[in-house]
């Protein structure tokens, strides 16, 4: 039997939390595509939010999981991927709702807001809850889809953020 594939991504703040969730998912029998980041070196959440969600939309993975400190930055980036429907949550019941009603395909949690056991419980329930297809639910999803703008050059483009990484390396951005 083929394993269900989960695409996961995070920023450098919560790499340790990502590792624990990845281990948990593998123990539960899932295959995990880890989109990074892989260490604690300062980097930028949109890179990983975009990568993780694109793997879900392309069909390489069934669901996505994204984590940063509060979950906001990486989930906002992931949600801007066409076809991604991202739920940022702190409770199991929200994750269930997002699956049942909105057919959400990426779940986001704040790795420094929510503890590892509750994150695992949220992710487990998210990836095992089925979408409840109804005309009302379908209509909401279409309404959300219709908000997406045109995305030339964005999808699958690994160099989409290069200009900003260059400016970052040149010291343009600083505290």
């Amino acid at each position: 039997m083929e394993k269900t594939v989960i695409s996961i991504g995070n920023d450098h703040i919560v790499t340790d939390i990502k590792e624990r969730i990845t281990e948990h998912l593998k123990e539960e029998g899932y295959e995990v595509i880890d989109n990074g980041t892989y260490d604690k070196l300062r980097t930028h959440y949109p890179i990983y939010g975009k990568k993780t969600a694109e793997k879900v939309v392309s069909g390489e993975a069934k669901f996505g999981v994204v984590l940063c400190g509060t979950g906001v930055g990486i989930s906002s980036s992931a949600d801007k991927v066409p076809g991604a429907r991202v739920a940022l949550v702190r409770d199991v019941s929200e994750a269930v709702y997002a699956r049942k009603v909105l057919n959400a395909n990426v779940v986001a949690v704040g790795g420094h807001i929510t503890g590892v056991d509750l994150i695992a419980a949220i992710v487990d329930k998210f990836i095992t809850t089925e979408y409840e297809k109804t005309p009302e639910h379908d209509a909401w999803i279409s309404k959300i889809d219709a908000l997406e703008g045109p995305k030339p050059e964005q999808t699958g483009n690994d160099h989409f953020f290069d200009e900003f990484e260059k400016k970052w390396e040149e010291g343009y951005y600083h505290d």
């Binding site: 300062r42 930028h44 959440y45 949109p46 890179i47 975009k50 400190g69 509060t70 979950g71 906001v72 930055g73 989930s75 906002s76 980036s77 949600d79 801007k80 991927v81 429907r85 991202v86 739920a87 940022l88 949550v89 702190r90 409770d91 019941s93 929200e94 709702y97 997002a98 009603v101 909105l102 959400a104 704040g110 807001i113 909401w140 309404k143 959300i144 908000l147 997406e148 703008g149 045109p150 995305k151 030339p152 964005q154 989409f160 953020f161 900003f164 400016k167 970052w168 343009y172 951005y173 600083h174 505290d175």
Partner: protein, 150 residues
Amino acid sequence: MKVVIGADKDGAQAKDDLIKVLNSEGYEILDLSKEGQDFVDVAVAVAKETLKETDNGKDKSEEAARGIVIDKWGTDAFMAANKLKYVICANVSDEHSARMTRRHNGALMITLGTAVVGPELLISCAQAYLEAPFDAGRHMVRIDMVNKMA
């Protein structure tokens, strides 16, 4: 500071309670709630008005307008709002996220879901968001990246 607020029917009571508190604290309130709106309508209305007030989110000063959406689940309005270009929206259910998402993400707006967030927590999250400054600095590179996404 102008606070652009919207609620669907499930968020109406909490929205009215929040407006009372924010009025007493001197915020200028623009309530966009209308009969018959669903969470997508409310999210889009608040997002567009707040974008307009802030030069597409570029104005992140302490006085810059901010948006708040209250509905049943929060995470649905969050999903809709972030689809719009220049919108960085946080679904919030704790005070620390509420504060940090303004400081680090310069969040244009937040969503709050009454199904999971009790009334006192909801008000303290809204206050924490509105009172937080934006840290700019290194955080701008990530915001520039998000804003390039359509």
